[in-house]
Symmetry: C2
Subunit: 342 residues, 2 copies
DNA sequence: CTGTTAGCGCTTTCAA
DNA sequence: TTGAAAGCGCTAACAG
């Protein structure tokens, strides 16, 4: 049997449709007894308001799109959890859009979100050099909050990780421990976040009077496997090209997933973390604290970021002015056991 | 300026609204030149069809709800990735609903999904004893596919992990390696999945002529921290209550996240994995292969499951009969390095 | 092949 | 305090 509509409710309650609507929405001008009647009718019919119909007339969907590059990296589900939690508290529903770090797919997904008339978007990470252009044209008229997409940070409310400073801090930490031959494992070359972290790394090197050496940087793909491969390449390089005069003693790795993979690579090569090679990661994903040895990393309050983003979005949607629409977060060094003084 | 509607497009193209609609939907009976005109008009106006309006009339939203208990466990994002991938290929959009393993919240989230008129639901894991009742009444009329929610497996198309057999296999593997004092770390006591895995564990014990000992089972919460705590409890128990006559030599742990935490617990107690205690997990999450030592576990093809679920859902939505609507998957033993013969 | 008409389920004036 | 009517943007007969 078909789902009951408000018409059915109205009929059963013996009132007009408009009264039924007002009653169900608890408008103050409806007589209490009428509300009662209507509610009973609704209950009896197991009535569920049709959000689609409502959206059509109110011209707001209370849908928000959440655009993430990759669900396999725990970083993004953590953000998703934060967004979802406050969204549902605020009466929004979230649509998931996974871009798989693929520009074409991203465009496609956005198109869908637009057609669904989402009220707003939270755009998390995964930005890529040049991803900017086409978005601008199509995205006006839509509230959007970006997380760690530096290319939008000046046009949209944003939450940004200070990747440059974070990377700098991480690298400097290694330097302070006495390391001089410090490698960097980044994400995909065209990833903006990865580029920023590379920048911070170079900056710290420079400030410490250490040379930047190309042979010490390798790009991975943010996955554990990628980290493993990158570390293996690095270790081979050291072995074959440079000899033992300047062996790698530490590495700053652009995210924890790769760092954990890289640690494995170190062991596979018969070396020890941190005995032979110190490692510092980025993100502080939930297993970081319990891997062996526990991973020293730059922590980012992921879930809070998601919640914060959704809150900002909701505020703009309410027409409120954001007093602070350009949040920049400093990652925090969590010293665990993968770094050791040289 | 307001978004263009199909009316605007029709006017600009000099045709009626219905013709515009037909043209945009590429109906075969529209003259090619007309389609051309209409498309140009649409492009010029940057027209985007309003999916909300369409849904209202077609009475299908092409929305599917994805209900998961917890985004922090990599297991679920992996499923989400699978669902999302095939959903978007099939023209569906997925709404995320995170229940946080909380029955009240689950009910609330489902209510929202129903109001949004999702065409179907994929319900992944997190089932809890007694979660069944209220769902039945409210869920008819909705296509739904369940993943690892045994309580629905006989009323809805389902993909189920054979948890009992998987757990049995895992435990038996330990037994074959010569272990006789094998602990079990489960999820929350009322988690059905955890109960099944416990059942498999007991079954294997029994078949092997080993006694079931309550002091060897502890319940965690599926998180790394929970695994750590559970292992610590276990180790303390051994220390204090039982003395050294029957020290724990192995543990089967209900998911990888906890297993990784538990490994850490073992080390904290000054013992070694697998030297002192062998460990086997469940799920094969993506870091399992690279932790130290690489985790032996029962693999479940998570992402494929998500995709499969969405495919099944789409089929039922199309009115196709599912030839195989009760898929049962056998977890596969992945031997890595956390288990050793005694 | 194209246009006219009706209506999806709801909210929202506006009158009564 | 309630009801009648209009209309959100679209698709779906149906007639021409």
């Amino acid at each position: 049997m078909k789902a009951a509509t408000i018409k059915d409710v109205a009929r059963l309650a013996g009132v007009s449709v408009s009264t039924a609507s007002a009653a169900l929405n608890d408008k103050p001008f409806v007589r209490t007894s009428t509300k009662q009647k209507v509610r009973e009718a609704a209950a009896k019919l197991n009535y569920r308001p049709n959000a689609i119909a409502r959206s059509l007339v109110t011209n707001e969907s209370r849908l928000v799109g959440l655009v993430v590059p990759d669900m396999a990296d725990p970083y993004f589900p953590a953000i998703a959890a934060g967004v979802d939690e406050v969204a549902s508290r605020l009466g929004y529903t979230v649509i998931l859009a996974n871009t798989l770090r693929n520009a074409k797919r991203e465009a496609e997904q956005i198109r869908v979100l637009l057609e669904r008339r989402v009220d707003g978007l939270v755009f998390a990470g995964g930005s890529t050099v040049g991803a900017r252009g086409w978005l601008d044209s199509t995205l006006d008229n839509l509230e959007i909050v970006v997380i760690d997409r530096p290319e939008f940070s000046f046009t949209s409310p944003s939450i940004t990780i200070d990747n440059v400073r974070g990377a700098e801090k991480a690298t400097r930490y290694l330097v302070q421990l006495g390391h001089r031959d410090i490698a960097f494992i980044g994400g995909p070359v065209n990833s903006l976040v990865s580029q920023e972290r590379l920048r911070g790394y170079r900056f710290a090197l420079q400030e410490s009077g250490l040379p930047y050496r190309e042979e010490l940087v390798v790009h991975g793909d943010f996955t554990p496997r990628g980290g493993l491969q990158a570390m293996t390449i690095l270790l081979n390089r050291m072995e074959t090209r440079l000899g033992i005069d300047q062996p790698l003693t530490a590495a700053f790795i652009a995210n924890d997933q790769m760092a954990i993979g890289a640690m494995h690579g170190v062991r596979l090569a018969g070396k020890k973390v941190p005995g032979d090679i110190s490692i510092i990661g980025f993100d502080d994903i939930n297993v970081a604290a319990v891997v062996e040895p526990p991973l020293t990393t730059m922590a980012v309050p992921t879930k809070e970021i998601g919640g914060m983003a959704m809150n900002m979005l909701a505020k703009s949607l309410n027409g409120e002015k954001l007093e602070d629409n350009r949040v920049v977060l400093q990652p925090q060094l969590i010293e665990r056991e993968t770094c050791i003084a040289r």
